[in-house]
Symmetry: C2
Subunit: 298 residues, 2 copies
């Protein structure tokens, strides 16, 4: 998200500055405290990356902390930082949904101290009303700009009400062949397009390809409501496809990145690297390197 992204180096595209400013104004409220706390770390991070060649396209890179589900928060933050991403999207095992505000604030401070930008959380299940209420209170307490959600479609009106009340975006996550509610980006878009425009998509590119949908077309068609992305590669474009490092699988990553650059995607590419659960860092680093390599060359 661009309001989690104050340095020009990490802005998705130079031509997108006006949109960035609009979104900063729109979503600045809840997040302002977090980013104030993160100011010094952001400056350090900007300096550390100043040597990177100025050529190529820029997109914001993050990690879905589910990639580190076998590790505690401290190790998760250390490995995330080392991989070179700037942003993080928290899963509940690292930032419990039922934690008290004080505990959540301590986690927010720890993320900032690690030099990372906390911008979202998920995937959060919303199958009953109380989960909707809890998740938005949680998002408010932690200054999130997006909640990545798996939900009962019947709850969409309630979710929309909360989006309006809390001014936090929702990206509904497509879960592929096994998901009867939201298998593909199209199935999400059809159900959210009539709602407040802050209700949108988190495209999981692995599940998108596993269900046989066209990833590039999905980005181009639904990009106006694209609020987060789960990035991985998969071994095959069927339900049997398993997570693998970018470039080792069947997904056309350069095509996807060209599409994201084309739509001036202002959000984060969050690696959800589900392989090698007990030692995911090398694979995650390969994914980050692959993305940066493509962006430097297109």
């Amino acid at each position: 998200m661009t309001n989690a992204n104050p340095t020009p180096r990490h802005t998705a595209a130079t031509g997108n500055k006006a949109a960035s400013r609009r979104q900063f104004m729109q979503f600045g409220g809840a997040a302002a405290l977090v980013y104030a706390a993160q100011g010094m770390q952001a400056a350090v991070a900007a300096e550390a990356t100043a040597l990177a060649p100025p050529s190529g396209k820029q997109l914001t890179l993050g990690v879905a902390s589910y990639s580190f589900r076998a590790f505690d928060l401290d190790k998760t933050l250390a490995m995330s930082k080392r991989s070179g991403v700037t942003h993080i999207n928290m899963k509940a095992m690292h930032m419990p949904l039922d934690a008290q505000p004080e505990a959540l604030h301590a986690i927010v401070a720890k993320v900032a101290a690690a030099g990372l930008k906390l911008y979202g959380a998920g995937v959060i299940e919303m199958s009953k009303e109380s989960q909707v209420v809890q998740a938005f209170e949680y998002g408010k307490a932690t200054g999130l700009s997006v909640l990545v959600v798996s939900c009962n479609p019947a709850l969409l009106p309630l979710i929309e009400q909360h989006v309006k009340k809390f001014d936090i975006r929702v990206g509904i996550h497509n879960h592929g062949p096994g998901d009867k509610r939201f298998p593909s980006p199209q199935s999400v878009y059809e159900k959210v397009q009539s709602l407040d425009r802050r209700v949108g998509l988190c495209i999981d590119i692995g599940h998108t390809v596993r269900v046989g949908a066209d990833l590039v077309q999905s980005i181009e068609k639904y990009g106006d409501r694209l609020y987060d992305m789960h990035i991985k590669d998969v071994t095959e474009a069927t339900a049997k496809g398993k997570c693998i490092q970018l470039g080792r699988g069947v997904i056309d990553i350069p095509g996807m990145l060209r599409a994201l650059v084309k739509i001036n995607y202002p959000g984060v590419l969050s690696y959800e690297y589900e392989a090698e659960e007990k030692d995911p860092l090398p694979g995650l680093c390969e994914c980050v390197g692959y993305t940066k390599g493509v962006l430097a060359a297109i």
Copy 2:
């Protein structure tokens, strides 16, 4: 080296098949035993990578085992394999120059069993005659196609004699600002251009940039004798530049890879990742990913 590279997927460029066949004939002798032993592993590796998107350019990726100087041979092979490279260039701590032939054969077998292709060794110091003799006997015993060498220029005639006798190529390694003999690719080329054409260069791209030489121009001008490459990025283009992950430093990696594709470079890109000595795998994986990403996009 193309003779260490039997699967089309890993051949540097489709247009280079005739040159590959020539080199296979030229260097096939000593290496034949090694590659016979590696046949099964090569087939497994080819299958494992068959899912990668067919688009983009292909170059052969390897690792200089110096990157793993803090680890024993078993760990070096396991980490090299995991990084996704196919080839390995051994440093003496993993394959001692003074080892007996039986010990060397055991190492060769271990590399093959790990599913990697042993194609070279180095950097090997040749400051006296006995070191020249030893290194070529070592190269013969292990089936190498290239020795990466730092040498006293007065020994070049003796080195040339051994190149002719053993039919093993030599890549003289440029060591940057601190090296009075061979700081730059140009300084190597000037001293080898009148010799047997199997005496050539190993361009260390970090040292090339640290000494202020033009990397792309060096590849294009001296490519006809380019037999190995040490790949890394550096934090600055001066003597103070330190090794860092590809894309995080100042080297124009896409420009370098475009130049290598343009000259149909048939050799190996060997990562000599000198940073993070105690835990180099994540950084190496980022380098491999970055290279693959650039190659997929150009």
